[in-house]
């Protein structure tokens, strides 16, 4: 689903229905990916592998949503993790205190996220670059310290304890590990498909224009502020979804979910995987979680190892892994055509 590939698809098919075909192709890829992921439990009894995929789902949704801001719109948020934390806590609290069916809590959490993101976004998206980055970070710290200090409601530094009730609904038993696994995969694939649609819609191209040249975009009649606010809220929704998957997985919510380091991890994932392709952050997610899991097994100084890897990508390659692959692929195609 890289952009160079998309460009090729458009030249191969007649221009008029190229856009529609691209959508069918994306849905097809999503269905195949889901079929492969969902059938995994049939072939392996490894709980660790399934857990790994669930964590990839949570982080993948979160990191890809950040790419909508960073890669597509040029809005570098340092506080995107607040919506991951907000999703986890809202969902957990609604389930614990109200005992509603899971889909209701899911939708209610999205609604809460949308309102909070609209308010914070309205303040932040007018700001330029570094100011935007730091004010989003400030809001993240505000939410984090609210969670810590409002201990009677949120459990403070202990987090939401006692487990999140997971009653069966619509025939899905999320307390069953395989059910939870398949549901996480489904949410990941649906979320990615929705974000892909946003990225390839007319609105997605409006975002690219704003990233490249916001002043020019406004001279074409685009309301830049409104477009930025819209994508800020949309990205928050998918981050919140990621937070909910995480809350379901660990059956709780902890202040670390809302700490600034979680935003840092998402930025790191985007740097690892690359922001010029849609699936870059997904590749970055798998890389980071793999690194995390393997490095912590061998050394307690895993921070140093991860730091070296970050420096290698940031200073050495100056792009993410999938950017690299996409460029190599485009280059090969050009020389191939030249022959």
């Amino acid at each position: 689903m890289t952009e160079p590939e998309a460009g090729r698809a458009q030249t191969l098919v007649p221009a008029r229905n190229g856009a529609a075909l691209q959508r069918y192709r994306d849905v097809l890829i999503a269905l195949i990916a889901f079929a492969v992921l969902a059938s995994l439990p049939l072939f392996t009894g490894s709980k660790a592998l399934l857990d790994f995929v669930i964590r990839c789902s949570a982080y993948g949704l979160f990191a890809t949503s950040l790419n909508l801001l960073v890669g597509y719109t040029g809005l570098t948020s340092f506080g995107h993790g607040m919506f991951f934390g907000l999703g986890a806590y809202s969902f957990g609290l609604i389930m614990q205190k109200l005992g509603v069916p899971i889909p209701v809590a899911f939708v209610a959490t999205l609604a809460i996220t949308a309102v909070v993101a609209a308010i914070i976004g309205a303040i932040c998206v007018r700001l330029k670059e570094i100011y935007f980055a730091f004010v989003t970070l400030a809001f993240q710290m505000l939410i984090h310290s609210t969670i810590l200090s409002w201990a009677s409601f949120t459990g403070g530094d202990q987090g939401l304890r006692g487990g999140i009730p997971r009653p069966a609904s619509l025939g899905i038993h999320l307390s069953n590990h395989v059910h939870l696994y398949v549901t996480s995969c489904a949410l990941l694939i649906l979320g990615l498909l929705a974000m892909r649609q946003i990225a390839q819609s007319p609105f997605g191209y409006t975002l690219r224009m704003i990233r490249d040249n916001a002043a020019r975009a406004s001279f074409l009649g685009i309301d830049v502020w409104r477009a930025k606010l819209t994508v800020f809220v949309l990205a928050a929704l998918f981050a919140s979804m990621g937070g909910m998957v995480m809350a379901l997985f660990v059956s709780g919510a902890y202040p670390e979910f809302a700490y600034w380091t979680i935003s840092g991890e998402a930025i790191f994932i985007n740097m690892l995987g690359g922001v010029s392709t849609f699936l870059g952050p997904m590749v970055g997610t798998v890389l980071l979680l793999l690194l995390n899991d393997t490095v912590t097994r061998f050394t307690e100084y895993h921070g140093i190892v991860l730091g070296v890897v970050i420096l290698f990508f940031a200073l050495g390659l100056r792009k993410g892994l999938l950017d690299f692959v996409a460029e190599w692929y485009a280059h090969r195609r050009e020389t191939g055509e030249g022959r």
Binding site: G7, T11, A15, R16, A19, A20, Q22, R23, Q197, I198, Q200, S201, P202, F203, G204, Y205, T206, R208, M209, R211, D212, N213, A215, R216, A217, S218, F219, L220, G221, I222, D223, R226, A227, T230
Partner: protein
């Protein structure tokens, strides 16, 4: 018709635009000239909403647009191209055109359909043909030559189908030959599209050759307006700007 009435803009103590009143009839082609710092670009910025005037009116077909935002003014039909080509560097020529049409058709916030929508195609295609960019449709804007980037900038303004097109130095940074090609293009567009065109230009040969009407700005004021012959022989213009060489050549 675009009418400018008593337009004023000060920066600190400097009046960059000082009581400027001008009429641009429908379908006219006007050149704006003046020495550096004469307020030419400020004048364009005031008309297009990049700057808010302190005083005065910008009337397009009787509607006052002074002080409104750039998107609003664009939607009323005043398009502009920039002195330094203002384009979207990572989009291809075709994507740029389609996205601009999308903005004009108010589909730039549509989420549930794939870009591009079929109804964007014809206009984008038409303008790419018009400016000779159709053969470079799959090129990324950043990889275009300087001249093509300027053309793409003009195409961006033109694809919105404006009533008035403001071109801020369309030939800036070009070699002599390229300049003439560009200005021929501008003239050709003006003739074929029947729109009002106002352009800023430094090259006097170009201005006197193609502009039926010339406005001379100096220190934010209108020094003179008229046909090339009138301007060439205007004593105030000769003193302030042209010097005697052109006057001698004309005599």
């Amino acid at each position: 018709m675009l009418e400018i009435r008593n337009l004023v803009k000060s920066f600190g103590g400097v009046k960059a635009t000082n009581d400027v009143s001008l009429d641009f009839p429908d379908g006219s082609l006007t050149a704006v000239i003046g020495p550096n710092g004469a307020g030419k670009s400020t004048f364009f910025n005031l008309i297009t909403g990049a700057l808010e005037p302190d005083f005065g009116q910008v009337l397009l077909d009787g509607v006052d647009l002074a002080g409104r935002s750039p998107p609003e003014i664009v939607r009323h039909g005043i398009g502009r191209a920039f002195q330094v080509a203002s384009i979207f560097k990572s989009l291809t020529v075709e994507e740029t055109m389609l996205a601009a049409v999308s903005a004009d058709q108010r589909t730039s916030a549509v989420l549930h359909k794939r870009f591009p929508l079929p109804e964007m195609r014809d206009r984008a295609e038409h303008v790419m043909e018009l400016l000779g960019l159709a053969g470079k449709r799959h090129r990324t804007a950043a990889t275009l030559s300087h001249g093509d980037q300027k053309l793409l900038d003009i195409a961006l303004a033109l694809v919105l189908e404006p009533k008035v097109l403001l071109l801020d130095e369309p030939t800036a940074g070009m070699g002599p030959e390229e300049r003439w090609r560009m200005i021929d293009k501008v003239r050709e567009l003006w003739e074929s599209q029947k729109i009002t065109v106002v352009f800023i230009e430094h090259d006097m040969d170009i201005v006197f050759k193609i502009a039926p009407k010339i406005v001379v700005l100096c220190y934010g004021r209108i020094l003179a307006t008229g046909t090339p012959d009138e301007i060439r022989n205007d004593s105030a213009v000769i003193d302030a700007y042209l010097g005697t060489e052109h006057a001698g050549a004309a005599a």
